[in-house]
């Protein structure tokens, strides 16, 4: 056992144990660690964004632009940084109720630009490519009579899954989308298809929940690994 002599490892270990003390019951140690986390995270993010965003993208170009303007008497493109700087200040007016309406100009500009960027990309990547991928994968159709022929000729788990997985996926996609189609009442054929969609949704949620459980256990394993190896040196 080689206990760490680094003060930062000891602080991290102490804070980890403070957070986990909540599992017994709420207590001041947990509250202290939680508030410290929130404060340090906010402070760290503020400094990172200020040094990586505000200074290089706003202060430095404005300083260069104004220096050139006052010393050489000519305006450079650096002064264009005034416009996003102004838009940023307008967003901050949201904190002042009397002039908060001005923030809508900046927000409108931001949302408009963002929507313009995201719509074309999302349409291509998330909708058209996915529709194509539902029916064609690796240049082969997912629903293929030839695969059923293979299943009949050489029956086995591999050929069975190969034959039915494609049609099952198409059925799942159509049934799930039908469940979320509310422009017609879920009766008759539409209602039956929607019920099949619910089954696929539940299978999907179950798989997602299983992965979530695994993820949470993984995070706990990571912390225990830190305590046992970096702090106490029991595990190498």
């Amino acid at each position: 056992m080689h206990i760490s002599t680094s003060i930062w490892v000891w602080i991290a270990a102490a804070l980890t144990l403070c957070i986990y003390s909540f599992l017994y019951k709420d207590n001041p140690f947990y509250k202290f660690a939680e508030h410290l986390l929130v404060g340090v995270s906010a402070g760290y993010l503020l400094v990172i964004e200020f040094t990586n965003n505000i200074i290089p993208n706003l202060f430095t170009p404005l300083k260069t632009g104004f220096t050139t303007l006052f010393t050489e008497g000519r305006a450079t493109g650096d002064l264009a940084a005034i416009i996003p700087g102004l838009l940023g200040v307008l967003i901050l007016t949201r904190l002042l109720p009397k002039v908060g309406w001005m923030s809508r100009w900046a927000l409108g500009f931001y949302f408009g630009a963002w929507q313009g960027l995201i719509i074309t990309g999302s349409m291509q990547a998330s909708i058209l490519a996915q529709i194509y991928g539902t029916f064609i994968q690796g240049n082969h159709p997912v629903f293929s009579i030839a695969l059923f022929g293979d299943m009949v000729n050489k029956f086995g788990w591999g050929t069975l899954i190969g034959a039915i997985s494609g049609p099952l996926m198409i059925l799942g996609v159509i049934a799930t989308l039908t469940y979320f189609f509310f422009s017609t009442e879920h009766k008759g054929l539409v209602g039956g298809t929607a019920k099949i969609g619910i089954v696929f949704l539940m299978v999907g949620f179950g798989a997602s929940f299983g992965y979530t459980v695994m993820a949470r256990v993984s995070l706990l394993i990571g912390r225990i690994n830190f305590l046992l190896s970096d702090w106490l040196g029991i595990v190498h």
Binding site: N52, N53, L117, T120, A125, A129, Q137, Y211, M214, G222
Partner: protein
């Protein structure tokens, strides 16, 4: 019957203690359970294996310390694989919390393989503006990153002099705990055609399988299990592999508790109904 009723009313802190024991014991006394790799991880491994030595690989550390336990093991495995194959690594991050993690992983692994900064690896650091950065990188790395993390201009770095944009990159891997892969796909993969893969937390893995099926991702590593699979393929067991013993024991404990809980519930309910009917 008393046992089953007691089981249903058990204090949850006993379950917490059992989970902690189930993790600590396999870590102190490893069982060395075999880890079997899955096709999405094998696909990514194969893509990197097939790259010509000297082809740059970009790894974007788009996560912060809250998901370090799941994503850093796969970062180590990927960078070790790249260095073993003599593939230079360009690290960057779109998440403000990712710079410290990326620097730590890159420098530690570089020391193991005697990799030279500026030649075998480069660290560009954090840049804000996600979509704008991804689009700018497609035209020229200099547009998004005029200088690297250490403020060295990119045209003074030998590796970056020959890596101008996505066309010079063999594969781009985003390690993410948020929806960054959803932005990489339309703007890097669809717009510029760069080969793209992702390493994500286990929570997010199911929602990115559709990108794998359509070929938009050439590989996908999901969670600590995925990291363990990749370590197994590379032949460098690390934190991921060590965590699998504990993961297996905890999952087994959960299955036992769920089965016992359901059995206890149904038996106790049946008895209550019988007692009610007999009154």
């Amino acid at each position: 019957m008393k046992f089953l009723q007691g089981f249903l009313k058990m204090d949850r802190r006993i379950i917490f203690a059992l989970v902690i024991v189930a993790i600590v014991v396999p870590m102190v006394y490893p069982m060395h359970l075999k880890v079997h790799s899955s096709p999405p991880v094998e696909n990514l491994y194969r893509e990197i294996e097939n790259l010509k030595p000297g082809t740059p690989v970009v790894i974007s550390f788009d996560y912060d310390p809250s998901t370090d336990a799941e994503l850093t093991p796969m970062a180590y495995a990927l960078i070790r694989h790249c260095f073993k194959r003599h593939l230079p690594v360009i690290a960057m991050t779109l998440d403000p919390g990712g710079a410290g993690i990326a620097l730590n992983v890159l420098t530690r692994t570089a020391k193991e393989y005697h990799a030279r900064p500026g030649v075998d690896y480069a660290f560009l650091g954090y840049k804000t503006g996600v979509e704008a950065v991804i689009l700018a990188l497609g035209r020229n790395f200099n547009l998004a990153y005029p200088a690297d993390y250490y403020n060295v201009p990119l045209d003074k770095i030998p590796l970056m002099k020959r890596t101008r944009n996505y066309a010079d990159v063999g594969i781009l891997i985003t390690l993410s705990a948020a929806n960054y892969p959803d932005v990489w796909v339309p703007y890097a993969r669809e717009r510029f055609g760069v080969k793209l893969a992702a390493g994500v937390t286990a929570v997010m893995a199911p929602e990115y399988y559709p990108y794998l099926e359509t070929g938009q991702f050439c590989g996908l590593i999901g969670g600590l299990k995925g990291a363990a699979e990749y370590e197994e393929l590379v032949g460098e067991p690390g934190t991921g592999s060590r965590g699998m013993d504990a993961q297996a024991v905890v999952h087994a404990l959960m299955v036992v508790m769920i089965i016992l809980g359901n059995v206890a519930y149904f038996i106790v309910e049946q008895k209550k109904k019988r007692d009610y009917a007999s009154q």
